[in-house]
């Protein structure tokens, strides 16, 4: 098998002492930062981006692989011990895992999360290694018109997250697209929205946007509403599981992998819906359904595995098409682009060493994570006790450091403040951050493909409609018109598992208020429940 040969080559790249060190440092840093309350994986990567800038591209990506998995695991630890989901994908972990921890089973919850993440991550990375080259081969044939359609689908899918207001999702997308427009237009050399300011002629550095939206915005928002009460962290020993825990965990791990990977791999997936699907599935299949809601181990094992599998799955569209579907993947994409490398179909041909080195590092990062984090869990738990004053002061400190170090320019610090203020406003009025960051990063790429497509067709709009893109546009239309379409469907058309997952998501949003918002579009004339849009299996 060609892919396996390539993968062996990738291990040769990743296993040099230097690169191995980067992987270990990445895992340690990723976990240490990710475990801090309120810091999700996306913020972790954004804050650490400046550190990797001075490495060569292979080393940087290998470190990223470590940071990626470390940050995600750190997020699960926080969710379990502190009930603080850093991102929407770990909301379920917080629900069940924190109940387990409160019931004195924190060690088991951490263990099933760590081992489940390892199992799912390994299987999913293997699937990535096998699938990605094939997808890339297919993607070479994809025309600019089709690309544009797929990106449009990604835009619409991230704005139509369940349980939140779509008007506000679109508003966030529009803000992101606008930020993406700033700078010199590559095709014509015209300055757009720069107002003669030379510092932004090359556009706003993605580091500044990401750090501003995620870190500064979050720190300001939390500071404005800081809960001034002692922090309750649940004490934890070394993670361990007994025979019964193993017996109840391994099936959810595998099912979670099976649910998570495909959702991550379609260019409209994301990690929230599959984790909830996994939760509901486990609840139905469990022999102990009465424990759900009070700390059922299956409710941690399944969603955690799903989360990791969908993260690895999300690398398929990210590497082969250059289309990210989660905030974390979007920032990784930006990091790769900052080296002048354009992820896309040609990546596997042009940069085989880099891609396979990255994939091999995902395996290594995953293994290092398991080996380090089982014994280190009590230390990570101590990090949760960091005083909030220092935590948020530290976030502002490192945000400024990172934004300044990126270009050694004071102007970027003022930009960071402005974008931080934007992030504050978005949090206050329930505008989700994900569509905005996807708009910033994917917007310029989408414009380029659109103009290429129209160039090929000599300006005829018909050039945008090719067989693949027509199918994709139909899906986009279906998602947009879903509230209307739904009324014409027979009641039973939506599988009840999906229905239940939808319900769970809305409940969780209600409790956690994660990037959600209420909108009248849900109350007027239609039931509150909608089917998860990207669940349409008819991907291109």
């Amino acid at each position: 098998m060609d892919a396996l040969n390539q993968l062996v080559g990738g291990f040769a790249t990743a296993l040099t002492p230097e690169n191995l060190l980067y992987a270990v440092v990445g895992v340690l840093l990723g976990t240490a930062i990710g475990v801090l309350p309120g810091i999700g994986p996306a913020m972790t990567i954004a804050l650490l981006l400046p550190l990797t800038r001075s490495l060569d591209v292979t080393g940087a990506l290998i470190m990223f692989a470590g940071i990626y998995y470390g940050g995600m695991y750190g997020g699960s630890t926080t969710s379990i011990l502190l009930n603080t989901p850093g991102e929407s994908a770990s909301v379920v972990t917080a629900v069940e895992g924190n109940k387990m921890a409160k019931g004195g089973r924190a060690a088991q919850a951490l263990a099933t999360a760590a081992i489940g993440s390892f199992v799912a991550g390994t299987i999913a990375t293997l699937l990535l290694a096998v699938l990605a080259p094939t997808v890339a081969e297919f993607a070479v044939e994809v025309s600019p018109a089709d690309f544009f359609a797929i990106m449009l689908l990604a835009f619409i899918a991230v704005t139509s997250v369940l349980g939140s207001s779509r008007v506000r999702g679109l508003a966030a997308l529009g803000l992101g697209l606008t930020i993406g427009l700033i700078g010199i237009d590559k095709t014509s050399g015209q300055q757009r929205l720069t107002f003669g300011i030379p510092e932004i002629a090359d556009g706003i550095d993605v580091i500044v946007v990401a750090v501003g939206l995620f870190a500064v915005g979050e720190a300001l928002w939390t500071a404005a509403h800081l809960r001034r009460k002692p922090i309750e962290v649940i004490p934890v020993g070394n993670p361990r599981m007994n025979r019964e825990d193993w017996a109840r965990s391994w099936k959810p791990w595998l099912r979670g992998t099976a649910i998570g990977f495909p959702f991550g791999a379609i260019p409209a997936g994301g990690a929230e819906i599959p984790t909830f699907l996994s939760y509901v599935t486990e609840k139905r299949l469990s022999k102990h359904p009465e424990e759900f809601g009070h700390g059922a181990i299956e409710g941690v094992a399944g969603p955690e595995a799903t989360n990791n599998a969908s993260a690895a799955g999300g690398l398929v569209p990210m590497l082969t098409l250059g289309i990210p579907t989660t905030a974390t993947a979007a920032i990784m994409l930006a990091a790769i682009q900052s080296y002048g490398i354009e992820p896309g179909p040609q990546l596997f041909d042009k940069e085989p060493e880099l891609v396979w080195g990255l994939i091999a590092s995902l395996f290594i990062g995953n293994t290092v994570l398991l080996l380090l984090n089982l014994p280190l869990a009590p230390i990570w738990a101590k990090l949760l006790r960091i005083p909030r004053t220092y935590l948020y002061a530290g976030i502002l400190f490192f945000s400024s450091l990172g934004a300044y170090a990126a270009n050694a320019n004071t102007f970027d610090l003022f930009l960071l403040a402005i974008i931080g203020a934007l992030g504050f406003m978005m949090r206050r009025y329930g505008l989700p951050i994900l569509p905005c960051i996807i708009g910033v990063i994917l917007g310029p790429f989408a414009e380029q493909k659109l103009r290429q497509a129209l160039q090929i067709s000599n300006g005829h709009v018909s050039g945008l409609f090719e067989p693949v893109s027509v199918v994709v546009y139909c899906i986009v239309g279906l998602i947009l018109l879903w509230p209307v379409v739904r009324r014409f469907l027979p009641r039973k058309a939506v599988p009840s598992v999906l229905e239940e997952a939808t319900h769970e998501i809305e409940e969780a949003h209600h409790h956690h208020g994660l990037t959600s918002s209420v909108s009248v579009e849900r109350h007027v004339g239609d039931e509150a429940r909608r089917k998860p849009d990207p669940a349409d299996p008819s991907g291109p």
């Binding site: 508003a171 500071a223 509403h225 004053t389 948020y392 956690h512 918002s517």
Partner: protein
Amino acid sequence: MSSAAPGGTQEQGRSEYGVALFLAALGLLVVVQALLLPESRISRGPVGPGAVPIVVGSLLVLVAVFLALDVYRGGRGEPEGGEDVELSGGTDWRTVLMLAAAFVANALLIEPLGWPLSGAILFWGSAFALGSRHYVRDAAIALVLSFGSWYLFFFGLGKLLPVGILKGIL
């Protein structure tokens, strides 16, 4: 800000029209700017540099209208929650302003004073703004962090952060 309870008071309802207004103004700005772009001599292809900004700007204006409608009909953007966040108390603008002051102080001072000092001011000021009153301990942590990060960037990453008045000492 006396009352900004999550998702529902009159006051937030009214201020949310401000968001719609902001989006509409931004959209108009984007459209106008695109229309004012001069004819390009090196432009290739039938779609000029102004087309996409016009679409994006119109999207913003359209979204602003729908958002205003949504707010009018009673829809509310729900403020983001979190374990460290208490939404019932209203916005603590004093803390936010003090944080902004510390942040801007760093931006203004980083080049004249150098990162080891301006960064320490940023950290100490932020900790103070957030309510820490251990002045000496905060200052010690701040200096360790800022000097430490300066040396980390210099020796670890080969990047020279501003030295400012400490030139020759570091």
